[in-house]
């Protein structure tokens, strides 16, 4: 897939390994996220994509392998250190404080204080500035909400997701990782979140999208990283493969060789998946 003149990946991993006792969750996995792209990460349950993402966002520390951020080798000691390097994650359960308003949620854990004595001695929050900046972030992403002083619990699922995305985008300097952002949403709301992901990409921020929803992946991803048995099985372009072929790669019925061609590994399984060798 990769050619000599391809740009430096924003986030890259080589030979990541993570073992839990007898279980190998990550088995020499590679990963490449290119500038300005939406990279979908898919894989069967238990393929280890969650472990891979956790290693890339600092939630687990791999036993072996190397992670590079913008070409520089880097070691995350925890989620905070990944965040400090501009990698933000939108979690599946949204991680919002329901009774708090939108602006408070956006600045949760990173509150701005008033300048001068009010901020340093009295620890006074700069609520006005936080509201203004939150409004700007929402406007940038064209998220229409009635009021930033609305409690998050009064929002619909899609609006909540939009708030969670906007919060991550506001702080991410390098990468936004989204874990199943449409899993809990209806059709219309999913569409809105996909639009939002596109707008994030169009602002130049690369997005890693973990999803089970194949139509969503095909609709939005620039490239698809297929994870299988703890490592990367293939990286493909959605325009060059059908969903059935991608599913076949996920299940191991089909393998992709170095030049991007497909090889039938197991013709019975491939037949079952309805795939012809190319």
């Amino acid at each position: 897939m990769t050619t000599a003149d391809s740009p430096t990946p924003v986030l890259q991993a080589r030979g990541l390994v993570k073992r839990y006792g007898q279980v190998t969750a990550i088995d020499g996995a590679d990963f490449d996220l290119l500038p300005g792209e939406v990279l979908a990460v898919i894989g069967d349950n238990g393929a280890g994509k969650t472990s891979l993402i956790k290693a890339l966002t600092g939630a687990i520390v791999p036993d072996a392998g190397e992670i590079r951020l913008n070409g520089e080798p880097i070691r995350f000691t925890g989620p905070q250190s990944a965040r400090a390097h501009g990698i933000e994650t939108v979690h599946q359960d949204l991680a919002v404080a329901a009774s708090m308003d939108i602006a408070s949620n956006m600045f949760l854990g990173r509150e701005l204080r008033r300048p001068g004595v009010l901020g340093s001695v009295f620890r006074m929050l700069d609520k006005k500035r936080m509201r203004q900046e939150a409004a700007e972030h929402m406007a940038d992403l064209k998220i229409g909400l009635r009021s930033l002083t609305q409690a998050v619990e009064t929002l619909s699922g899609g609006q909540r997701q939009a708030v969670a995305v906007a919060r991550s985008v506001a702080w991410a300097r390098s990468v936004v990782v989204m874990d199943e952002p449409t899993a809990a949403l209806g059709v219309k709301e999913s569409g809105q979140v996909l639009d939002l992901i596109r707008r994030v990409r169009d602002r130049g921020l690369p997005v890693v999208l973990i999803s089970h929803n194949m139509p969503h992946v095909f609709e939005i991803a620039d490239r698809i990283h297929v994870h299988r048995l703890g490592r990367r099985a293939a990286v493909i372009k959605p325009s060059e493969y059908s969903m059935a072929e991608v599913v076949a790669i996920m299940t191991g019925a089909l393998t992709v060789d170095g030049s991007g061609g497909t090889v039938v590994a197991d013709s019975e399984a491939a037949k079952a998946a309805g795939v012809q060798a190319t």
């Binding site: 404080a97 329901a98 900046e133 009635r146 930033l148």
Partner: protein
């Protein structure tokens, strides 16, 4: 991000009137005002400066406990031990100063530290083992209660040195005498109202009560924060202990036995949710006053004290019902 400060066109701020009407303290405040109007017409003695000063004096101990209780309930915890911890603190201060011949200020300081220590222990057990706060503080209620009686040998400590009762002193305001202790309680309410609404610490407390996971994922050090909240609450129980001693003038091992639940009552009547994450110390202040006004007004009307307890119980159930309904609506 752009440098403009123009708010997004689609965003509006709800009108002040609407916000006041939907604020969670509006209901309790209305209840307080209605109670005041009712008692003003029912009895001549109610609407006097002296009587209001008395109400504040009567509620300042429970009020100070209730500030700590509010902090803990906002984190979705509960503290059943606050009254017992306060009783132990008051006996310690009284005995060390009166019989242990320690300098009174040192005795007060040690009493405050021990109460804060109980809070710290509650927080550590809740957070590090971890155990449900209900169980931890239920255990601590018995421990502190027993220690109070063991340490005091069931004796009431009298003839306390001046500094221990200084907060019971009064100064005139108009024609009314106000105790210094009332001022301490009011100052603490203002301090924590500010800390909760105006600082990042306060926001983290609310976030913790909403969802520990969300707070943690957003970089809040949830374990430290929880232990800190229980410790601060313990320190507040220490202040309540000093207020108790200064008001009664003695160290009484039997004191404060109903205050555990009274503090929770005040918090709940004030509109703070037992599920955490919503409420305020302003609401608790109103809740404390509601309980105080009902007790005082019914007493002035000559209603037997057992009916005061009855009405308090009904108020609690009513308050939680309102909370439940509003939470369902929010979903």
């Amino acid at each position: 991000m752009t440098a403009t400060t123009t708010p997004y066109a689609g965003l509006t701020t709800p009108s002040t009137a609407r916000r006041l009407l939907t604020a969670p303290t509006t209901g309790p405040l209305a209840a307080l005002l209605i109670a005041c109007v009712f008692f003003s017409f029912s009895t001549d003695q109610f609407l006097t400066g002296g009587n209001f000063s008395l109400i504040v004096q009567q509620v300042m101990v429970v009020g100070t406990l209730a500030i700590g209780q509010t902090l803990i309930i906002l984190t979705a915890g509960i503290d059943l031990s606050c009254g017992a911890v306060m009783a132990f603190g008051s006996i310690m201060m009284a005995r060390m100063a009166a019989e242990g011949s320690l300098p009174p200020l040192l005795a007060i300081g040690l009493g405050l530290l021990v109460c804060a220590g109980f809070g710290l222990l509650n927080g550590v057990l809740t957070e590090k083992i971890p155990l449900p706060p209900f169980i931890v503080t239920l255990g601590m209620l018995n421990v502190a209660f027993a220690l109070t009686h063991i340490y005091s040998k069931e004796q009431t400590v009298t003839e306390l040195p001046g500094p221990l009762t200084a907060l019971g002193g009064t100064f005139p305001l108009g024609h009314t005498d106000i105790t210094y202790g009332s001022l301490v309680t009011i100052a603490l309410f203002l301090l924590f109202a500010y800390a909760l609404s105006g600082t990042g610490w306060g926001r983290h407390v609310y976030a913790l009560g909403n969802s520990v996971e969300a707070a943690r994922l957003n970089g809040v050090r949830t374990s430290r924060l929880t232990i800190g909240v229980y410790t601060v609450a313990g320190l507040l129980y220490g202040v309540a202990a000093l207020l108790l001693v200064s008001r009664t003038g003695v160290g009484d091992p039997q004191a404060g036995q109903t205050d555990n639940l009274d503090s929770i009552t005040a918090v709940v009547i004030g509109g703070t949710s037992l599920f955490g994450g919503r409420g305020s110390v302003l609401g608790t202040f109103i809740g404390v006053l509601i309980v105080g006004v009902f007790r005082n007004g019914l007493q002035l009307m000559g209603v037997a004290s057992i009916y005061q307890t009855l009405i308090t119980g009904v108020l609690v159930i009513l308050a939680v019902t309102v909370d439940q309904i509003s939470r369902k609506k929010a979903r």
